[in-house]
């Protein structure tokens, strides 16, 4: 009897939670007829923002992969003093409010910023450019990839790496033929999450890069700018972003690269951060 009651409570809690999460997403699609949503997608505000968003996010992803993968491997495979500090640093942008990220980027890369003042002396100004958008996206999205990549590298059986080395493969060959293939599921998951987060970046961008159609106005910024002009356009962009995010998650599940039980176990991250 008590068991049945408990099961019922679990069930009710789940219904409430799922309905709560689903309602806003469903509302985006049913607020106006789908035909009107699709019409809005050809609005130049939407197409321009789509191009800006994809361009900046893809460039940011390239840098994240290029610099994040070796960083994650180093942090996963070596133990050195200050390692946990490095891991915490990597995770910090994840929990920082986006507005803080925006202020930080201005203080660093702004015209009078720590690095920005010497850059602007050299004739390079970053704020209000697509470079600024890319930097903001890379700053907020890279922790998702690096964290996931560290976890992926840590799950590799060290004996396999040792075996590869004893069989004569060099460190580079071992990395590309053994370590990368073994961790590709985790890396792809991290990359997908970073991509989705980057595409949704808003707060740091609006503070650091401003908002100008065709230049720095990404999809989320276009939602904000159009909110007071044309509500249908904001719904259309929102629907588009929901579909893209869902597509990212579903494609990961379909290719069975997603290993939720192993890759996002909280205890692993807890161990990671403070080890």
């Amino acid at each position: 009897m008590r068991k049945a009651l408990l099961a019922l409570l679990y069930f009710l809690a789940a219904v409430v939670a799922l309905a709560f999460l689903a309602l806003p997403i469903v509302a985006i699609f049913v607020h106006v007829p789908p035909g009107r949503l699709i019409d809005q997608l050809s609005n130049p505000v939407v197409t321009d923002a789509l191009i800006v968003s994809f361009k900046t996010t893809l460039i940011a992803q390239a840098f994240i992969l290029l610099f994040g993968t070796p960083t994650a491997y180093l942090l996963a495979s070596r133990r050195f003093p200050g390692r946990s500090l490095c891991v915490t640093l990597v995770e910090l942008p994840l929990v920082l409010p986006p507005a803080v990220a925006g202020i930080g980027l201005l203080a660093a890369f702004g015209r009078f910023g720590l690095l920005g003042s010497s850059l602007s002396a050299a004739g390079i100004t970053i704020p209000f450019t697509q470079t600024a958008v890319t930097i903001a996206v890379a700053f907020v999205a890279s922790p998702l990839y690096i964290r996931q990549a560290i976890a992926a590298f840590e799950t590799i059986d060290p004996n396999l790496v040792a075996a590869s080395r004893t069989l004569g493969a060099g460190p580079a060959r071992t990395f590309f033929r053994v370590i990368l293939p073994l961790s590709r599921g985790g890396l792809a998951a991290g990359e997908a999450l970073a991509f989705a987060r980057g595409l949704g970046e808003f707060g740091a961008t609006i503070m650091f890069a401003g908002s100008l159609q065709k230049v720095t106005q990404t999809l989320p910024l276009a939602i904000y700018a159009e909110f007071e002009v044309n509500f249908d356009v904001t719904l259309a962009i929102s629907a588009l972003l929901v579909l893209i995010s869902a597509a990212v998650l579903i494609s990961l599940k379909l290719t069975s690269l997603w290993q939720p039980s192993e890759q996002i176990s909280s205890s692993r991250f807890a161990r990671l951060s403070w080890s």
């Binding site: 201005l106 702004g110 015209r111 009078f112 100004t125 704020p127 209000f128 609006i206 890069a209 401003g210 908002s211 100008l212 159609q213 230049v215 720095t216 904000y224 700018a225 909110f227 007071e228 002009v229 509500f231």
Partner: protein, 268 residues
Amino acid sequence: MELASQHRIARRRATVLAALCASLCSLLAATGAAARTGEHSSTRVTGITVYAAASLTDVFPKIDSGPKYSFGASSTLAAQITQGAPADVFASANTTIPAQLFAKQLVQRPVVFTRNRLVFVVPTSNPAGIHSVYDLKKAGVKLVIAAPAVPVGSYTLQVLKQMGLTSVLANVVSRESDVRSVLSKVALGEADAGFVYSTDARTVPGKVRVFKIPAWAQPKLTYALAVVSASGNKAAAQRFIREVLSKAGQKKMLAAGFLALPKAKSKR
């Protein structure tokens, strides 16, 4: 051993609970006290939420610190009210947005309450070497203006059109969401110039240099406010509006740099 530790946990729980109760009580007492002072003071209108243009951020709380305020671009606030936001009073930096809401019966008849002037500001360091509005045409000037839907953004476009300077729009690097965002980008020195209200420029003394715009190019820049139709406390909302229109209220607006209404119009 087991029992002792259980006992300890229970005791700790009791302490935590007691602390929670105490803080809750003090919180209730504090809110009660706040409500009481509100009743006694005749100059404070409490229990209402005022949605007001960003340029009113500093002056409205000086007129009355009682209401809850939400400041932002008038256009954003109007969109929020259209979506059912719980506002009691709407104060806009122009007359067209309240008129539109009035036409949709979302607000009651708007009344004009003050005027303002458009200026442009450059950082004190003046990195782009701007000495007149015509210098904004120089290549590479980083000009920041507000989005066209925002009142200050539409005033900016009017001025530039009036002065035959629409070519400077090519130098716009960002269209910000409200007047204060334009101001902060200039005050930080990230932008070379920006168009704001003269009252906003005064809020960051020493950080920006202010350039006037000739009177012949100044747009008619009138503010209007109205009671929101869905307000649950229209009497208090009316009281707040009367307070803004009162001699004391208008004096504070003038002190903040806003302009008096022309005599004939103030009675409308």
